[in-house]
């Protein structure tokens, strides 16, 4: 059992009659890399803001490094909440200098280190108003890391980035996590979290719907009916084989798209996929591709939401 460094106890945030966060309990241990999942408006950012001491909970409390929020423990937290913001008339380096003065005891050498870490050393002298979205994101990460925080709270850190930028940020976060920093990262780009985190906390309509391992979330779909797209060298042969009850088997329904280039889909239980493929091969169909749609974190998550009545 590790040391809990970040905790939320029965956190509630109401805006008038609207409940943005509804009795959220959360406990994150030192060194964990946790994904915070949820669709837009689910309460991710509000929760992160309460954990960072930026907004006051209506009821409940938060703890950082064993101390209350707001409190001195927040000085050991690095944040990037929503789009990172800067003084546009200052250069990237000067924005970091400003932050370093607020933190105190941060050397110019450390500023150089974080700039190099996010590969921004060549653009550091430019005014921030001239930065692209990707550069702002990277500078935001540099600022969050400036004071060597114990905890990182990141809200959609790859928002608006191109694939190269996303890969760079992901690589940076992996490196940070390897250094023992606890990371809570929210995102709705689920495939990004899939490649990064080991634990997932899913929130919907302000309440936690799932809190457990990433594998546990994905395995939920194993028991469920999934839609599988199948491709074969001879598409017509594939279609006619699937129309044969003996080949298709029980509890498998066929969905054919119209036209010669139409897709062939079957709906069946996840664990029934190997048997179907075996029958197709025995029937002389050369299958070239099988793709279980939604067979990833996103699919699992959407199914999780469907359980709670939210349309996917």
């Amino acid at each position: 059992m590790g040391v809990t460094v970040l905790a939320a106890h029965n956190l509630v945030k109401r805006y008038g009659r609207f409940t943005a966060v509804d009795h959220v309990d959360l406990s994150i241990e030192r060194g964990e890399l946790v994904g915070f999942l949820g669709p837009n408006g689910a309460g991710k950012t509000t929760t992160l803001r309460m954990l960072a001491g930026l907004i006051r909970p209506t009821s409940g409390s938060a703890e950082v490094l064993g101390g209350p929020v707001p409190g001195p423990g927040l000085r050991r937290v690095g944040t990037m909440i929503e789009e990172p913001s800067f003084y546009p008339y200052l250069s990237g380096r000067d924005n970091l200098r400003y932050a370093s003065l607020l933190h105190g005891d941060i050397t110019e050498q450390r500023i150089d280190e974080v700039l190099a870490f996010v590969r921004m050393e060549n653009a550091a002298q430019k005014k921030v108003r001239a930065y692209s979205q990707g550069m702002r994101q990277r500078l935001g990460l540099a600022r969050a890391l400036l004071h060597k925080p114990d905890i990182l709270l990141l809200d959609e850190p790859t928002n608006g980035l191109d694939p190269v930028g996303i890969a760079e940020i992901r690589e940076n976060l992996r490196t940070v996590a390897q250094q023992g920093v606890t990371v809570l990262i929210s995102s709705h780009i689920l495939s990004e979290l899939e490649k990064l985190v080991t634990r997932v906390v899913a929130i919907e309509r302000g309440s936690i719907r799932y809190d457990g391992s990433l594998r546990g979330l994905v395995s939920r779909m194993e028991e469920r009916v999934v839609m599988v797209r199948i491709e074969a060298i001879d598409a017509e042969k594939l279609r006619s084989a699937l129309q044969d009850d003996a080949v298709r088997g029980d509890d498998v329904s066929l969905h054919l798209s119209s036209g010669p280039e139409g897709l062939t889909r079957v709906e069946l239980a996840h664990q029934a996929i190997p048997d179907l493929l075996r029958r197709l091969l025995n029937h002389g169909v050369d299958v070239t591709e099988v793709h279980a749609e939604g067979d990833d974190l996103e699919g699992a998550y959407l199914r999780l939401l469907q359980e709670d009545g939210r349309p996917s």
């Binding site: 003084y87 400003y98 607020l102």
Partner: protein, 318 residues
């Protein structure tokens, strides 16, 4: 205290990189002294030996009052207070907007308050940083105007004589009074959540409130007029109008700066006892004292500072 010092250093770092500080300094440190000495020279050339000089307006006395090293420093202190709206309001609102309003404009509160979680330290660190910037501007204005006056001594026939201690005291007190204005501007800019609206409100709200309050005070208790009470009601109205400005923010705020003009005003029609006993005398602030205005400003500072701190501590950062 450490956290507050860190905020002050950070704000100073940011503030000295803003162009507006240098524009304000340019106007106050360079333009005003140059104008003062230039106008004094024009006055000297055109009025010396003229009929005005013969009929009692002593050119040298005027030049000494306005363009000697002490006189130029007095002008540098008083002139911003006599402009309308005053240059002091302009300077304070611009600096407060940079320190407090800009955090919202650039969405920086979330960054600042995570790096420095003590909201009390952040707020008061920012306010003190603004006050230090105002102090630097005021000190610079004093030094450059003295320098301009010193140059003037070479061709205007002015001297260094005068009550320097008193003038420095007035500078110091005016700087102190500006802190109340800083708190007022900070309160409006923060509460209204809009820099432009906050600046406009800082400019005009005090005058509006004071005007409405004057009207209300003048009309409340005003009884139906008849030939018996007319005189008493007129006297009552006069007394009300005389005493109101003693408590107004605007008349007390600029009093140290404006009081430097008293020696000049006392030489003109305002020296007339009839004027001194009229309600207009109090509108010029001539019946205030430095001690009185200091206490009034302290009272306002406590109210504005209390409200600003309360609002800042409890508001969520969106």
């Amino acid at each position: 205290m450490k956290a507050m010092l860190r905020v002050i250093r950070a704000e100073w770092f940011k503030g000295i990189r803003k162009r507006r500080l240098y524009v304000l300094a340019g106007l106050w440190w360079v333009l005003l002294p140059v104008l003062t000495i230039s106008l004094a020279r024009v006055f000297q050339v055109n009025v010396t030996g003229s009929f005005l000089d013969e009929t009692g307006l002593v050119v040298q006395t005027t030049l000494q009052a306005l363009a000697s090293p002490l006189g130029a420093a007095q002008v540098a202190l008083a002139m911003p207070a006599f402009l309308s709206p005053s240059a002091y309001v302009l300077a304070v609102t611009l600096l407060v907007a940079a320190a407090i309003g800009e955090e919202r404009t650039h969405n920086m509160w979330k960054t600042t308050l995570v790096a420095a979680p003590s909201r009390l330290a952040v707020l008061w660190g920012k306010l003190i940083a603004v006050q230090l910037q105002l102090g630097a501007l005021t000190l610079g204005a004093f030094l450059t105007s003295v320098l301009a006056g010193a140059i003037g001594t070479m061709f205007l026939g002015t001297t260094w004589q005068g009550n320097w201690g008193s003038l420095l005291g007035l500078y110091l007190q005016q700087w102190g009074h500006l802190f109340t204005l800083t708190l007022f501007a900070g309160l409006l800019i923060f509460v209204l959540r809009n820099v432009t609206l906050g600046i406009v409100a800082t400019f005009f709200l005090p005058a509006l409130i004071e005007g409405l309050y004057s009207i209300w005070q003048a009309t409340v208790g005003f009884q139906p007029l008849n030939r018996f009470n007319a005189l008493f009601q007129a006297l009552e109205l006069q007394r009300t109008l005389e005493s109101l400005p003693r408590w107004f923010l605007t008349s007390n705020l600029y009093f140290p700066a404006r009081s430097t003009a008293e020696p000049l005003l006392s030489q003109g029609f305002t020296a007339d006892p009839e004027f001194q006993s009229s309600p207009f005398a109090s509108l010029l602030g001539s019946d205030l004292t430095l001690m009185h205005s200091a206490w009034v400003m302290l009272g306002y500072a406590v109210v504005f500072g209390g409200l600003l701190t309360w609002a800042f501590l409890r508001r969520d950062v969106s």
